[in-house]
């Protein structure tokens, strides 16, 4: 290949819509995911803002109870299955895993494209319930039986959509596992892999091993609704608790599918902006595996009030507390990475710091819920809703935003306005905490979740929370506007190592990268991926 072919970037290589939707280039597939996931995220946000509007005052504000129930179900289904599960792995994993490993693509590029198409088909199925049949499901994203068996709404289609989406997740997981095992550049042993790759590795195993269980469970719902097979509905001989077990055996590990990649992002952002090696590389890498492993055995904490036996409740409570330990280890190592660094406060770092703060609130409130006595009071209340959003949005969501601000110059070879990005971060941060913290308070007061209407004593926190949703929405719009405006700016030269202090391999190639990822052989740092003492010299141009 000539030099020009090597430096032709992936964005310009081919033109036309088909060169995108049938591309097998992992970078283009990543962007396909980004645009589709981003769109569904905005739909989910809109539904969330509508829910908060309805809850501004007790009684009816803008919609009927039935509509509200369908809106929160749609919000959950979209945010969980269409946004947060695929988010970081499908976008940033797809784009950067091969580059960070120093290779030219994932192991199975066609399978990679297929998983995007399956994702789109699943998404269309999920959204089709808005238009066809007896209206979108009103069961909550958990589809608890026997209500999901009895309700007249279009549960069958929603459940089938989640089933189809599961395949997309499984294929991505499979692809990453094989890529990590087979395609690491010579000299990169497992212990010299970037921590983002470690996080994706742990995530992929969960995707591969846990997702089939939800697939089977969802098909069981369909069998019960369509053919009347008595599996979960006691009136035809089923057991509703069995459904909860099967559902959470997947859905709890799924929480780690959502969280682990975010941990990986944070482990990349901190060394770059502290300009120093990560503290406790092994501890961070292995704690991901520990979380993935122990995370399989804690699902019962979703069922402390379901009527599960006493000893089972005790064991699940202990296991839940055990998961906290590897998580705590990560937080301590992240903070220690800032120690004696040379810290450059840039927008991605702000998101990382915001992540650590909010994720701590999410994790620590999880401890409250893991304790048997406290959970009896707080189970199925707004405390859980607050906790969950702190982990998923305050954690994974903020890591996603951090990642997009971090790799923006690398992906598009352009730059956004940093001042606006910083302002947007602070608005988001304030809005987020105003929106979700009152939920924990109102949960402690005893307000159950999935409530269309509430008692007058719950009014104040709900009002504050709704105001928070407006601030948050403003911050999101500003952030998004800034990112879009950046992509419309005139293309200028963006250095390979835009932040100057990036050390993983993506910072050695051009911005944006060429089709085959590298225009010259990447050089590994001597002792591990974050060896800042022997950071390879990166020249902009070949001599």
């Amino acid at each position: 290949m000539t030099n020009t072919a090597l430096s032709l970037n992936y964005l310009q290589a081919k033109k036309g819509i088909f060169s995108w939707i049938f591309s097998v280039d992992h970078k283009r597939i990543a962007l396909l995911y980004l645009y589709s996931i981003g769109t569904f995220f905005l739909v989910g946000v809109t539904l969330g803002v509508l829910m908060r509007l309805e809850l501004l005052n007790p009684g009816k504000d803008i919609m009927e109870a039935q509509t509200y129930n369908q809106v929160f179900t749609m919000h959950g289904v979209i945010m969980i299955f269409l946004f947060i599960i695929p988010s970081i792995p499908a976008v940033f994993g797809n784009f950067f895993l091969p580059i960070m490993l120093g290779t030219d693509d994932v192991s199975f590029p066609r399978l990679n494209l297929l998983s995007w198409w399956i994702y789109i088909i699943g998404a269309i199925m999920a959204l089709s319930t808005l238009l066809f049949g007896d209206g979108p499901a009103d069961t909550g994203w958990t589809f608890y039986a026997p209500y999901s068996v009895k309700t007249g709404t279009n549960v069958t289609m929603s459940v089938l959509a989640a089933f189809v989406l599961g395949f997309s997740s499984i294929l991505t997981g499979l692809n990453f596992i094989v890529t990590i095992h087979r395609l690491r550049t010579p000299g990169m042993s497992f212990m010299k892999m970037p921590l983002f790759a470690w996080a994706l590795y742990a995530t992929s195993w969960i995707q591969l091993l846990a997702t089939p269980i939800i697939g089977i469970t969802l098909l069981m719902i369909v069998a019960e609704r369509v053919f009347g097979v008595g599996l979960f509905d006691p009136s035809i001989g089923g057991d509703p608790i069995l459904y909860q077990h099967l559902f959470w055996i997947y859905s709890h590990p799924a929480v780690y599918i959502m969280a682990l990649p975010a941990f990986g992002i944070i482990s990349e952002l901190l060394p770059t902006f502290a300009n120093r090696t990560i503290f406790g590389y092994k501890a961070i890498a292995f704690s991901s595996l520990a979380i993935a492993f122990v995370g399989y055995f804690v699902w019962g904490h979703h069922m402390f009030t379901s009527g599960m036996s006493g000893p089972a409740r005790i064991i699940f409570s202990i296991m839940t507390f055990l998961v906290a330990i590897p998580t705590a280890i990560k937080v301590f190592n992240w903070v220690a990475t800032l120690y004696k660094g040379s810290i450059d406060v840039q927008p991605p770092l702000l998101y990382a710091l915001g992540f650590i703060f909010q994720f701590m609130i999410g994790g620590l409130s999880g401890l409250v819920l893991g304790a048997l006595a406290a959970d009896i009071h707080l189970h199925d209340t707004y405390f859980v809703v607050g906790h969950f959003h702190y982990v998923m949005f305050g954690g994974t969501g903020f890591a996603f935003f951090g990642a997009i601000h971090y790799w923006y110059p690398k992906i598009w070879g352009r730059m956004y306005n940093k001042l606006v990005a910083n302002i947007a971060f602070f608005i988001l941060f304030i809005g987020f905490n105003t929106l979700y913290f009152p939920m924990m308070i109102v949960g402690l007061m005893g307000m159950p979740r999935r409530y269309y209407d509430y008692l007058p004593e719950f009014h104040l926190p709900n009002m504050i929370s709704t105001y928070g949703s407006w601030i948050l929405a403003t911050g999101l719009l500003l952030m998004l506007g800034n990112l879009i405006a950046g992509s419309r700016r005139k293309r200028e030269h963006i250095d390979r190592n835009y932040w100057k202090t990036g050390i993983t391999l993506e910072w050695q190639t051009l911005s944006p990268p060429p089709v085959s990822n590298f225009d010259r052989m990447p050089v590994l740092p001597k002792d591990g991926p974050y060896d800042y003492d022997h950071k390879p010299e990166i020249k902009e141009k070949e001599d």
């Binding site: 007249g152 090696t277 406790g280 401890l367």
Partner: protein
């Protein structure tokens, strides 16, 4: 948080305060250290970073300390929870039913009510059951909650120690009017409880058809005064001519025994014009033919 009004409140609140206390300490501590580092080791103040790859001592410390702390947290959670599973032998046993979207209670003497009255300082055991989907019986002030499962064998117990009136809420999502599935529990002295037991009317003194309508929460959606809620009103219903949609076709029917029976057993077969499909579940498994006859008998009286 609401003031605790049962003997469990102390244990639950203690576990909450201990975990919240430890959590807030670490949250503030770690956040403060993090912010301090960002300022102290900023690029300006500390142009040259020191590469510290890690410290085994520190890793051990911050593995052991969280481990000890979570054991403490687990212990208090367990201790607060333990008494909830040990029902005293002298507890008053009341059957509690959940259904879309109301609670009902059956006392040992057969009295049926839609809210609870219990004596102070006496243990009460509720056998939890559901007539349709999952519900969850929740009294925030007592710190008790347990799901009501159809055909389930769940139970809970409590000992109220503060007279007053407290909310009962449904905590497990159960459909359209989940947030309106409310009741109350009134804690009174022994004497008041005994006089209430003998004097207060049971729902069973009413027309048996009306009791069935109440027990099955029919009246949440079907009014008795002619107003339109979610389904058609029962007032003047019997003998009336309605336009219904059957398999997409409009037709006229006269409301009689057969029509009402079919509407109870297959609610989606005929939909009265102007109402939505799919909002009512079939009661074929819930109501016997005799009970449906009682209901029809009662609807006839609503002219």
């Amino acid at each position: 948080m609401r003031t605790g009004a049962s003997t469990f409140a102390e244990g639950v609140d203690l576990s909450l305060y201990i975990i919240a206390g430890i959590s807030i300490f670490f949250l503030i501590g770690i956040t403060a250290v993090m912010i301090y580092f960002v300022f102290r080791y900023s690029k300006k103040r500390n142009p040259k970073a020191t590469n510290i790859e890690g410290s085994n001592t520190l890793e051990v410390i911050w593995t052991v300390i969280p481990t000890l702390l979570v054991i403490v947290m687990f212990y208090y959670g367990w201790m607060g929870y333990k008494p909830m599973r040990n029902v005293p032998d002298d507890a008053i046993v009341i059957e509690a039913y959940g259904q879309m979207w109301k609670f009902s209670f059956e006392y040992p003497d057969g009295k049926v009510t839609d809210s609870l009255v219990v004596p102070v300082n006496r243990p009460v055991k509720l056998n939890l059951n559901s007539r349709d989907v999952l519900h969850s019986f929740y009294i925030p002030a007592f710190r008790v909650k347990e799901d009501m499962v159809p055909n389930g064998e769940n139970y809970l117990w409590f000992e109220p120690n503060l007279p007053g009136r407290y909310d009962i809420l449904c905590a497990e999502y159960c459909g359209q009017l989940h947030s309106y599935m409310l009741s109350s529990i009134t804690v009174v002295s022994d004497a008041e409880y005994n006089s209430w037991l003998t004097s207060a009317p049971s729902i069973t003194d009413e027309h048996p058809g009306l009791s069935l309508l109440k027990q099955n929460a029919c009246l949440t959606c079907h009014s008795q005064d002619g107003s339109k809620i979610i389904g058609p009103s029962f007032k003047g219903l019997f003998g009336k001519t309605e336009i219904v949609v059957t398999d997409g076709q409009e037709r006229e029917v006269t409301v009689d025994e057969t029509y009402i029976t079919r509407s109870i057993k297959e609610p989606n077969a005929d939909i009265v014009q102007g109402y939505m499909k799919g909002l009512m579940v079939s009661y074929a498994e819930v109501l016997s033919d005799e009970q449906i006859a009682e209901i029809i008998d009662y609807i006839k009286t609503l002219e």
